[in-house]
């Protein structure tokens, strides 16, 4: 057994993981484990910006930002968390600037800000400039900047190590088990604190903006170890993915003034959301598109509509939206200077995940009981700051605010009082058994069909629009796929950089995430934010203003569901109008 010992082990080197690392690098021994080289993390794909009420161009207040976050989340947002998010975003953005992040600038040298969906002035009166950005590669610049700082602070990286298991003993977290991809060796990391920052699971759907590595590993590993997953049914479809490929065209385009057009050339959003128009929240715009298509106004009768930026002019496009217009050229052969771009909703973001409190500590039940030494931040976590629907630019804020808080809490509160819990017996047993059984199987079905059928099923039955029937079918299909997965066979039995082994483990993780998603969605007989049921079209605050907690059981497809209340401090639930 390869044994390592650190005060803190952070799993994931995206924005959330590296932000935690920054708080800890000076004062403790830390390791960052990542299955990708850090700069390959999906944070690098974020385009549009990071929200903070700096008020550089027009009046803005963190309280407005908090309100928008709560309302955008269809009131499932925990308001204590939304307050922290909106308040601390400001400082966190200045931190990034001080570390060198090359934000776009106003003529007087301040951080430039632009409009984004759902962000308003004065509690909903109209759009406000709140998104701080670096062209349309804000996430790239955040990831690069934090990686640069990690290099400066000589953070210990274990790159291309895939985490397979998390260990608890004596009532606290005590380690993780990971596989070195280079040689398939298993490593045990013994630690006083563990931070999960492993990102989302968009790869469970056929059309997605997410990278191939976004397979919900952290969620699935925690889930299998008895940690609940919160609000997994709240999954966001972003309205503007490139037709068929799903690659994202950021809301920044609409923030800069792009239009959505149906087959009649009509800006249909105005009909549905007269005030915010194209800048209504994502869940709504995705449904507007769905509705247009259903009523026969998709382009050529197909399931897509147009995003048009041509009227913005070449210069503005090149300055503000260079990357995303390049995607349209490269992948669809469309020239956005002159032509509208075919788009359709694409699976994008997990509002749900591992439940945490506002310090980033993982909580394990309805009473918010803390699992000492276990932290989560970023897309893998559910604070819950995004409620039933995340606003654009609020994920990057989430990473830096709660990544920072988790790191700070570990440094100032947990490490001074904590000790190492002893490792459990046979600490790498489960991980070893997982790897050996996969490598040892000589017959069975390959991974390809299982993955494809899972992604089709999630897209068609657990997508923008859901129903009792579609979800019941989805659950039956999931049970079938899980059974087939348990007999899956690898073609590759090598111990050197076995990416097939990695992919098959990832597929198992996706199945677990899908299970919790489907079960939560079936039980939530209402429509709220990203979760829309055509058999229960209204939001039902009496029965469902509460968070789902899904616990893994031995019964495939049937997690145990429990519920916990939403934290409401200032803003009473109201109907969402834009």
């Amino acid at each position: 057994m390869n044994y390592h010992k650190f005060d803190v082990v952070i799993v994931g080197a995206g924005g959330a993981g590296l932000m935690s690392a920054m708080q800890l690098a000076h004062n403790s021994s830390i390791a960052v484990i990542s299955k990708l080289y850090p700069t390959r993390s999906h944070t690098g794909a974020a385009q549009g910006g990071v929200a903070a009420a700096l008020g550089n161009q027009e009046e803005d207040h963190w309280k407005w930002h908090m309100f928008d976050t709560v309302k955008g989340g269809d009131y499932l947002t925990d308001q204590d968390a939304a307050e922290v998010l909106a308040r601390e975003a400001i400082d966190a953005v200045y931190d990034l600037e001080h570390w060198g992040l090359p934000f776009n600038r106003t003529p007087d040298g301040k951080i430039d800000q632009r409009r984004f969906g759902g962000h308003t002035r004065n509690f909903g009166e109209g759009p406000v400039r709140r998104s701080c950005y670096a062209a349309d590669r804000t996430g790239h610049m955040i990831l690069q900047t934090m990686y640069q700082q990690s290099v400066k602070n000589q953070v210990n990286f274990f790159n291309e190590y895939m985490m397979l298991d998390v260990l608890f003993n004596d009532g606290q977290a005590c380690g993780v088990v990971a596989m070195n991809l280079r040689d398939t060796s298993i490593h045990v990391f013994h630690a006083k604190a563990i931070v999960f920052a492993t990102g989302g699971y968009g790869r469970a759907w056929r059309i997605t903006s997410n990278a191939l590595a976004c397979t919900g590993d952290g969620m699935a590993v925690a889930y299998r170890r008895g940690i609940p997953l919160e609000d997994m049914e709240m999954y966001q479809f972003h309205p503007t993915g490139l037709y068929k490929v799903g690659i994202l065209l950021s809301e920044a385009a609409r923030g800069e003034g792009a239009y959505l057009l149906n087959s009649e050339g009509e800006r249909f959003c105005i009909r549905y959301a007269p005030t915010m128009q194209e800048l209504a929240p994502r869940d709504m715009v995705s449904r507007f598109i769905y509705q247009e298509v259903a009523e026969g106004r998709g382009i050529d009768g197909k399931d897509y509509v147009y995003l048009s930026v041509a009227h913005l002019g070449k210069e503005r496009i090149d300055e503000k939206l260079p990357d995303i217009t390049d995607f349209a050229r490269t992948y669809l052969g469309v020239e956005p200077y002159y032509e509208p771009v075919p788009i359709q909703p694409t699976a994008h973001y997990a509002m749900g995940g591992i439940p945490t409190d506002i310090e980033g500590r993982v909580v394990v039940d309805e009473q918010n009981t803390v699992m000492p030494g276990f932290y989560a931040a970023g897309e893998v976590a559910c604070v819950s700051v995004h409620g039933a629907n995340r606003l654009g630019t609020n994920s990057l804020v989430d990473l830096i605010v709660f990544g920072r808080r988790a790191g700070k809490h570990i440094a100032s509160k947990w490490l001074p009082e904590a000790d190492y819990a002893p490792l459990p017996n046979d600490p790498d047993g489960r991980a070893r058994e997982q790897v050996e059984s996969l490598l040892g199987r000589t017959r069975g079905e390959g991974q390809d069909a299982i993955r494809k059928e899972l992604r089709d099923m999630m897209m068609d039955k657990v997508g923008v629009i859901r129903s009792e029937q579609s979800l019941t079918e989805a659950r039956a299909k999931l049970v079938e796929l899980r059974e087939r997965y348990d007999g899956v066979r690898l073609m590759d039995t090598s111990h050197t950089f076995n990416t097939e082994l990695m992919e098959v483990i990832e597929l198992g993780n996706l199945l677990d995430c899908a299970e919790a998603t489907i079960a939560g969605a079936l039980a939530r007989r209402e429509s709220r934010g990203g979760h829309y049921r055509n058999d229960y079209e209204a939001r039902d605050d009496v029965n469902f203003l509460r968070h789902t907690l899904a616990y893994h059981t031995d019964q495939v497809g049937e997690p145990e569901l429990r519920y916990k209340p939403v934290v409401i401090t200032e803003f009473q639930p109201k109907e969402r109008k834009y």
Partner: protein
């Protein structure tokens, strides 16, 4: 942008346009064979499929041992730089319709090979670290942002686009000849800070880059600029750094 590929208009309107292509791949399977060898795969793809889609299809349907890195699948993470028909490219930024019916794929040159198309990037990142690729400024920061005009910001805009894919470094004959030389990607990342008005580390970096393994090994062959999937004019960036060493940086 350098990376725009010419594609027929209106292609999104057409349905499937399946075609059969031959992909010749240079394999290296150290567990079973200590020599690299070539293998040819026949695969059905659509014109708008990426080369990465074709590789995935081969891996998932024909040969699970085929090994390559990938993540974002749209040219922003830098995982899948490889040599395609003799040039370093990102497999996820190449459409099959632009590649012809016979395609040759190899790992990048100038890197140790781990398996098939996967090369060891550790030496590449070690060289990157040598140029101090982080903002150096010990002056106390203000409570809000440090000011920077749009013009100052524009001065280093291009080199901030680097995704550390290694395509430039792996296409550079000077790198092939001498594995000690820092290579174009490191210089691009030094450039990103040398010309940032907020940075105070330029002298330090220029000193590092004026040494034996620094900028002077660049022979302005331009392979790096051609290889860069982010459209960075790499050779020009190197030239700017050379000029800064000779005449001082602007700040």
């Amino acid at each position: 942008m350098a990376t725009v590929t010419a594609a027929p208009r209106g292609a999104t309107q057409t349905g499937s346009d399946l075609r059969t292509v031959q992909v010749r791949i240079k394999r290296f399977q150290p567990d079973t064979n200590d020599q690299p060898y070539w293998q040819e795969f026949t695969v059905q793809v659509e014109g708008k499929d990426r080369l990465l889609d074709a590789l995935n299809k081969i891996k998932w349907q024909q040969d699970g041992t085929l090994t390559f890195r990938r993540s974002c699948a749209h040219g922003v993470c830098g995982s899948d730089a490889m040599r395609v028909n003799g040039r370093n490219r990102l497999a996820c930024k190449l459409l099959m319709q632009d590649l012809g019916a016979r395609i040759t794929v190899e790992p990048m040159l100038g890197f140790p090979i781990i398996r098939d198309l996967v090369v060891d990037m550790d030496p590449f990142f070690a060289k990157y670290e040598k140029v101090k690729p982080y903002l150096i400024n010990d002056e106390p920061a203000p409570h809000t942002e440090r000011l920077q005009s749009p013009e100052q910001r524009a001065r280093f805009d291009e080199t901030t686009k680097c995704i550390l894919c290694g395509a430039c470094t792996g296409s550079c004959p000077s790198v092939w000849a001498n594995s000690e030389w820092v290579g174009p990607a490191s210089i691009v990342n030094a450039h990103r800070f040398i010309f940032d008005s907020r940075d105070r580390g330029a002298a330090d970096r220029l000193n590092i880059l004026s040494d034996r393994t620094g900028v002077w090994r660049c022979r302005t062959i331009f392979n790096c600029s051609e290889a860069c999937p982010r459209g960075i004019h790499v050779t020009e960036a190197i030239e700017e750094v050379k000029r800064a060493i000779m005449y001082g940086s602007e700040e």
